[in-house]
Point group: C2
DNA sequence: CCCTTATCGTTGCAAATGCAACGTATTATG
DNA sequence: CATAATACGTTGCATTTGCAACGATAAGGG
């Protein structure tokens, strides 16, 4: 069993390896093997389970009104799925989850996670902590991204993103964690439009860059420029 | 004290009015009055508190690299703030919270919320439930909005949004919860561009609408059309 | 070393969008 | 009823963007 992957799973952070087995028994964890393209969750099901990918991978897919399918997320080993819908107590799952490869999945009943067990098992407190952290961190990531991509122009999206990096790094020198294509995808714009705008911003004196090292200029330096 | 507002606060859902007082004591709730523009939280503080607006209102504001301020959220009575950062155990608050009017605010230590109290107070379990639901629901809302506004064109954004409504209503007839301006803001586009595109989509046979009642056509009806 | 591949910038062009302004229908208000 | 306010569609125009294609450079593999 690939339970070692759980040690790197955010839901089981700060839980001792030696405690894991008894915890999983307490949670009544269930393990299933799926073939590629098997459904793990189906749209419309009552959301009570949280899934953990042990091996293989899974896709969270959504079907639109016309029957088109969109992959909303790809979950790798150690990753969770379904936790938002379970914790939100959704009556109907709005998405399906499908095995992207032959996979082993652990399913947990969300109520077993968040309710103290009768044996007052000490892990529950940590588990709840972890679940809250997982949801909250995802929340923060989504909110940040939203701030950037709600801007109307490529320039504004870039400035929003770069500013956030600079502020969190407390420096005007930023090393991007993305290459150009990835940055373009993250900001939901074309790579060529991104490159074009970066050039223009450099020409306008807003910033300088070489490869992935960016330097933001202060307002003073910018307003000093001609024009 | 305006504690009745707490009965409508999602964090205190399904908690009896008669239990509220002892719960707040157990949580060591603190109450503060702020004048307009007073800081409730400051950037950089360690995130341990969750705020609840009892009266007045509060703005979550972010300062960018150049000193510009953006209002990320406006919180009305009954609303929460800071819960994501506390639950994510952020070492540094990336935002400030400022009283938008003279306000009364209740502050709770997040650790007191999520940790069972020594007196095994029965409310804690419900409170944790509620906190998880709040975070998870916000998560779902953000994810949905993200799906829509990550599309490149106004038409795609509209189709994504309308499809979601139709699927969740299980009907091709949709009554919008927004007026045009609100829909445009939600999808991060211009109102005029939205109107223009709606007209074009109707002409192309994708949908029909009158006021806020929209009818989506099936793919069959669409592909049947000339051209 | 050569060849392939990946990354990034550039550019022409058509299409989409933001912006501003205006007209009309509907609703609210005195 | 008269008037104002609001919501919505429309349109002209300048700008921005997506899209496709190409070239340069760097990195990696045989």
């Amino acid at each position: 069993m690939e339970k070692t992957i759980l040690l790197n799973c955010p839901l089981f952070a700060d839980i001792e390896k030696s405690d894991l087995d008894s915890l999983l028994i307490c949670l009544q964890a269930r393990f299933y093997d799926y073939k590629r393209d098997d459904f793990i969750f189906r749209v419309g099901e009552h959301a009570v389970n949280v899934g953990v990918v042990l091996s293989g991978s899974a896709n969270v897919v959504q079907e639109d009104f016309w029957g088109g399918r969109t992959i909303l997320a790809h979950v790798e080993p150690g990753g969770l799925f379904g936790e938002s819908f379970s914790c939100a107590q959704a009556q109907q799952l709005p998405v399906s989850v499908v095995a992207a490869q032959d996979s082993t999945i652990m399913l947990l009943d969300y109520r077993k996670i968040v309710k103290e067990c009768s044996s007052a098992c000490v892990f529950h407190s940590q588990l709840i902590f972890n679940m809250l952290r997982v949801l909250a961190q995802k929340n923060i990531l989504l909110t940040k991204k939203m701030e950037h991509i709600s801007r109307r122009t490529v320039r504004e999206k870039l400035l929003s993103f770069l500013s956030e990096q600079a502020v969190s790094d407390k420096s005007n020198k930023i090393t991007l964690p993305f290459n150009r294509q990835e940055l373009a995808d993250y900001l939901c714009v074309e790579r060529s439009a991104l490159s074009r705008e970066l050039s223009a911003m450099q020409k306008d004196g807003l910033l300088e860059y070489r490869k992935n090292l960016f330097t933001l200029n202060s307002r003073h330096e910018i307003t000093e420029l001609p024009q």
